[in-house]
């Protein structure tokens, strides 16, 4: 759809609407993940017995996934740099690389889950595991959603259209990265 209302093109705050709405979406996500993390932390502190369960998560795979996400963030921001110089083709390339990073992340996460389930740790295996699966699952859903948006934005960017969206999906992607930056120590190290 090429017709856009004038309301969409106005920018009284000085922040373009697309970026402004992204910030508000991130704010609403902060409280979703923040609330979940806060409840996990308070439960965890009250239940020292959960540490035994936490010993079963694989720190190396977690670290590898952290590395993957950090790298995908790099390519997301490089896509923004390309879009900033109006190089849509290059931006699209970097966005697709970012989505590839997301795929690798999900594959590794899937391997972890499979291993854990094989060891008999499922969603209902006790407090730690319930939180573990909900936290990583919710985060994984955000990665998945981010990947879909990345590919949509990349398709437009390749034709030099809607380049302002490159920055926005990047912001969102970095936010998802930051969530993982906290999930990693909480689930794989602090135990």
């Amino acid at each position: 759809m090429s017709t856009r209302p004038i309301s969409n093109t106005r920018s009284v705050t000085g922040i373009p609407s697309a970026r402004l709405i992204t910030w508000w979406v991130i704010a609403s996500e902060i409280v979703i993940f923040g609330g979940l993390l806060a409840t996990y932390v308070m439960h965890n502190l009250g239940h020292p017995e959960w540490r035994a369960a936490a010993m079963h998560t694989n720190t190396w795979l977690g670290a590898l996934n952290t590395f993957v996400l950090l790298t995908s963030s790099l390519s997301a921001v490089l896509a923004f740099k390309a879009a900033d110089t109006l190089d849509g083709a290059k931006a699209a390339k970097f966005l697709r690389l970012t989505a590839l990073g997301g795929t690798i992340f999900l594959v590794i996460k899937g391997i972890e889950w499979t291993r854990e389930i094989h060891e008999g740790f499922v969603l209902s295996s006790g407090g730690f595991w319930s939180f573990y699966y909900v936290l990583t699952g919710l985060h994984g859903l955000h990665v998945l959603a981010g990947m879909i948006i990345l590919l949509v934005v990349a398709a437009d960017a390749a034709k030099n259209r809607e380049l302002q969206r490159v920055e926005c999906i990047g912001l969102y992607w970095h936010f998802v990265d930051i969530v993982w930056i906290f999930l990693f120590p909480l689930l794989y190290i602090a135990r």
Binding site: P16, A27, V31, L45, G46, G126, G170, I178, F182, P185
Partner: protein
Amino acid sequence: MISEAQPMISEAHIHHPNYVKIWAILVVLLMVSLLGSMSSIRSVVLIAAFGVALTKTYLVTTNFMHVNVEKRWVPYLMGIFLAFMVILFAAVAPDVMKHSGLRWSNDAAKHAVESGMQPASTKHE
């Protein structure tokens, strides 16, 4: 359909720091937290892990998300939303984290802790 202006990418081209360098620092930080996790002193593990997480967050938000050049109120707004979560934690933790308080005690939770700790100390794999 005539519009007032085409949507802007951003008001002015912003200064792009050397992103690869930032990424390299982030990876080094990841190593630090891994090294820290090998320590047998719990406080070292925790400080390394969460110190690194906070530093990484700072690097990502300023350099990748550009909040330092964004309008001032944006980081403040995010901070307020985070502060609400801190308040939530502070007011809920006395009930959920602790298992007894002034004239109350959560026996079910205490029991869960006790029975959970037992196998961990007896059967040491």
